[in-house]
C-alpha cells in the first residue's frame, strides 16, 4: 500500500487561516513555556536533574531487555498479568481479548498516547465496545472525532466556543453558554456514570519500575484513578521504553515532568500501581510497535528517552503557529518530527522540514534529547533517499551554489535588496514565493554588514 505524504505546510495554512485561533494557541503555549522556565529556575539542582534523567534513561535503554524481564518478574509476583505485543494489532487484540473474557461493554480510559498510536478506539468500536475517554481535553477530541493535537493538552487548538459547540452537539449542553467552569462541570457530570458502570478501566503509564513491577501514572484530573479504582479490571498499556530501574529514580523524573510540562512542581495526582487491589485484576501490556527497531538506529535511539512532557512543542515556533493536527501523526511538534519518520519515512518525510533548527526544543528537553540535531539528520536521510519534493530540492541546490560562492552571494544580496525595495507587493507575496506566505518579509537594510565593515573597519590601521 502506498501512503501519501503528509503535507505539513498545506495543513498548517488551514490552521493559520483562523486568526484568533492561531493567536490564542501561540500565546497559550508560550505561557506554558514561560511557566516551565520559572518552575525550573526555582530548583537549584535543575540542570543536575536533567543530566541524571538523561543518564538513567540511556543506561536503561542500553540494558532494556534485562530490565523488562525484571519488571515482568516483579509484576507477576505482585499478581499482575503481563502481556507482550509486537505491534499495534497485537496490542489491540490482547486488550480486546481481556475485555471479551470479562464480558465488558464499556471501557473508561485515561489519556494514553500509545493507545492513540495503536488506534485502539476504532478497533474496539468495531467490536461493539464503547470507549469513554475521561480526560477533559481528550474527551472533547473524542466527541469531536478528532485526534489529540498536543501530548499534554489535547484540545489546546480549540477555543471555548468550539468546545461549547461540540458539547451542545454531543452531550446536550447549552450551545450559547461558553463559560469554562460550566463546560468542565458538564463533562464531569456526563462522565461520572461511566466510571460507575464500566466493567474495565484503562490507563497508560508514565513510568514502569523494574525493581518493583510498579506502573506510575501522572494526571491532574484524577480520571486515571477513577478509571482504575471503580471497575474490577485495570488494563495498562506501556511502551517498552517507559522502564526505569528503581523507585529512587522516580524522584528525578517526577520532579522534572510536570515542571517541564505545565510549570507546576508535580501533577495533582501521581499514582503508583504495584498490584491489583483485593478482588480486582491488573493486566499490563508491554508494547514494542517499532521501538526495538528504533533502538538499533544509531542516530535516533535517543528519542526513546522521551517522557512526553510536551515542552518541546510549547517552545517550538513552528508548532505554536501550525497546530498539532497539521503534522498528521500521533506525535506532533519537534518530538513528533523525529519519531514519526521511524514509523513511515515516506509518509512523514515533510515533517523534519517543519522546523527552524533553532535548537530551543533540545534546550528545554528534561531528558536532554538532541532533538534539533536529529531533525537535521533526518533531512539528510530524506535527501539521500530522494524523498524531497522537487521544488524544495531545486531551491536548496540553487541556495547551496549561491551560499558557497562569496561573489554570487554578494550579487544575490544586492539584487534581493533592490527587489524588496522596488518590486510591487504582488511579486513578493505570491503563491510561488513560500517566504511571502503568512508573513511580512522584513524591510531591506540600506547597508549590508560587509559594506559597513569595509567602510568603517576595512582599512588596515
Amino acid at each position: 500500500m502506498k501512503t501519501s505524504r503528509v503535507d505539513h505546510a498545506e495543513a498548517s495554512s488551514r490552521f493559520i487561516a483562523a486568526k484568533d485561533h492561531v493567536t490564542f494557541h501561540d500565546r497559550r503555549l508560550w505561557d506554558l513555556r514561560t511557566k516551565r522556565d520559572r518552575a525550573g529556575a526555582e530548583v537549584e539542582e535543575w540542570e543536575d536533574l536533567r543530566t541524571l534523567a538523561s543518564a538513567i534513561k540511556e543506561h536503561t535503554l542500553t540494558h532494556l531487555a534485562d530490565y523488562l524481564e525484571e519488571f515482568e518478574r516483579n509484576a507477576q509476583r505482585n499478581g499482575a498479568h503481563v502481556h507482550w505485543a509486537r505491534d499495534a494489532t497485537e496490542h489491540n487484540q490482547i486488550v480486546h481479548e481481556i475485555l471479551r473474557a470479562h464480558g465488558a461493554r464499556t471501557l473508561v480510559k485515561s489519556k494514553s498516547m500509545l493507545t492513540d498510536e495503536c488506534e485502539l478506539g476504532p478497533f474496539l468500536g468495531r467490536r461493539g465496545i464503547e470507549i469513554v475517554e475521561t480526560d477533559l481535553g481528550e474527551r472533547i477530541q473524542q466527541l469531536d472525532e478528532e485526534p489529540p493535537s498536543h501530548i499534554v493538552v489535547p484540545a489546546v487548538h480549540k477555543l471555548r466556543r468550539d468546545v461549547a459547540q461540540v458539547f451542545a452537539r454531543t452531550i446536550g449542553t447549552d450551545p450559547t453558554n461558553t463559560d469554562v467552569p460550566y463546560l468542565a462541570e458538564q463533562q464531569r457530570r456526563d462522565t461520572r456514570p461511566y466510571y460507575l458502570k464500566a466493567e474495565a478501566g484503562m490507563t497508560g503509564a508514565n513510568f514502569a519500575i523494574a525493581e518493583t513491577g510498579t506502573v506510575v501514572v501522572c494526571t491532574n484530573e484524577g480520571n486515571a484513578d477513577l478509571s482504575v479504582h471503580v471497575p474490577g479490571v485495570h488494563i495498562v498499556s506501556v511502551g517498552i521504553e517507559k522502564i526505569i530501574p528503581r523507585i529512587e529514580h522516580l524522584g528525578v523524573f517526577v520532579r522534572l515532568l510536570s515542571r517541564s510540562a505545565l510549570g507546576s512542581p508535580i501533577t495533582q495526582m501521581t499514582s503508583h500501581f504495584r498490584a491489583p487491589r483485593e478482588g480486582a485484576e491488573m493486566h499490563i501490556v508491554l508494547v514494542d510497535n517499532g521501538r526495538s527497531e528504533r533502538l538499533g538506529m544509531s542516530d535516533f535511539w535517543y528519542s526513546l528517552k522521551c517522557i512526553r512532557c510536551g515542552a518541546c512543542l510549547n517552545t517550538c515556533p513552528v508548532y505554536r503557529r501550525s497546530g498539532g493536527l497539521s503534522y498528521g501523526a500521533t506525535y506532533s511538534g519537534p518530538i513528533g518530527v523525529i519519531v514519526d519518520p521511524t514509523f513511515n519515512l515516506r509518509k512523514y518525510s515533510a515533517l523534519p522540514f517543519a522546523s527552524t533548527l533553532n535548537g530551543s526544543c533540545s534546550s528545554v528537553c528534561p531528558v536532554k534529547i538532541n532533538i534539533h540535531e536529529q531533525i537535521y539528520r533526518w533531512r539528510q536521510i530524506i535527501n539521500e533517499r530522494n524523498q524531497l519534493p522537487i521544488v524544495k530540492k531545486e531551491a536548496m541546490r540553487m541556495a547551496g551554489k549561491v551560499l558557497a560562492s562569496p561573489a554570487l552571494y554578494r550579487s544575490a544580496v544586492k539584487a534581493a535588496r533592490a527587489g524588496l525595495e522596488y518590486l510591487p507587493r504582488t511579486v513578493i507575496y505570491n503563491p510561488l514565493n513560500a517566504w511571502g506566505r503568512q508573513r511580512e518579509v522584513p524591510r531591506a537594510v540600506k547597508t549590508t554588514f560587509r559594506e559597513w565593515y569595509l567602510k568603517n573597519r576595512g582599512k588596515k590601521s
Binding site: E58, L64, R160, V180, T214, H229, L250, M269, T270, E293
Partner: protein, 204 residues
C-alpha cells in the same frame, strides 16, 4: 480457531521475539549514575508544605482546629450530608470499613483520611490502600479532608520515595491539592473529575 495452548505458544513467541530484537539492537552499554543526595536547609518544612499546597489549589487549615474535628467539618462543609471516614478521630456518617463496593461511595460529600507523609517541596500527601481502605474514597468523594502529622513532612520527593510503602503497598498516591484541569483555554477549574477541594489539617 486457535485453542488456548496455541494462543499461549504464540504469546511466548512474541515475548521471545521482542526481547531478542531488543538485545540485538541495544546500543553500547552506558553506566547507571549514582543518585546524589541533594542538601536541604533544615526547618520550615510545615510552612513550605502549606505554601506549596496552596499553590496547587489545596487548603491548609490553620492551627485553630486543635479541638473537635466534627465541629470543624460541620463548619467547613455546611451542606455535607454523607461524611465517610477512614480515621479513628472522626466518626462521620459512614465508616469506610462498611463500604462493600467502590461505587457505594458515589454519594459521599466529604471523605476523611490520614496521610502517611507530606512533601514540603510540592505540598503533596502520600496515601496508600492502608489509609484509604477503599481507594476510590480519594476520588469519588466531592471533598477530601486529610489529617497530617507535621512530624511526617519530608523535605522533597527524593526523601519521600525512600518510604517502604513504595515496596509493599499495592497502591500509593501523591495527592497534591484537588482534582484540576486547564484543558479549555488554560482556564483553571478545580474538581475536574475527582475531589473539588482538598483540605489538610495538621494533627499528630
Amino acid at each position: 480457531m486457535k485453542g488456548p495452548a496455541s494462543v499461549t505458544a504464540a504469546a511466548a513467541d512474541t515475548r521471545a521475539e521482542v526481547l531478542a530484537r531488543i538485545r540485538a539492537n541495544q546500543p553500547v552499554p552506558m553506566p547507571l549514575p549514582d543518585m546524589p543526595v541533594f542538601e536541604r536547609g533544615s526547618g520550615a518544612a510545615l510552612e513550605a508544605f502549606a505554601a506549596n499546597l496552596a499553590r496547587m489549589g489545596g487548603v491548609f487549615a490553620d492551627a485553630d482546629v486543635t479541638g473537635d474535628l466534627g465541629a470543624f467539618i460541620a463548619r467547613t462543609y455546611p451542606d455535607a450530608v454523607v461524611v465517610c471516614s477512614a480515621v479513628s478521630e472522626v466518626d462521620g456518617t459512614r465508616r469506610v470499613e462498611d463500604v462493600r463496593a467502590p461505587s457505594q461511595l458515589d454519594d459521599v460529600d466529604v471523605g476523611v483520611v490520614r496521610a502517611l507523609l507530606g512533601v514540603a517541596e510540592t505540598g503533596s500527601v502520600l496515601l496508600t490502600e492502608a489509609q484509604l481502605k477503599v481507594n476510590a474514597l480519594g476520588f469519588l468523594s466531592q471533598h477530601l479532608l486529610v489529617l497530617l502529622d507535621p512530624a511526617a513532612i519530608v523535605p522533597d520527593l527524593h526523601h519521600a520515595y525512600r518510604h517502604p510503602a513504595f515496596f509493599t503497598s499495592r497502591y500509593a498516591v501523591f495527592l497534591t491539592g484537588p482534582s484540576a484541569t486547564a484543558d479549555i483555554e488554560g482556564v483553571l477549574v478545580h474538581g475536574a473529575q475527582g475531589v473539588r477541594s482538598l483540605t489538610v489539617v495538621a494533627r499528630a
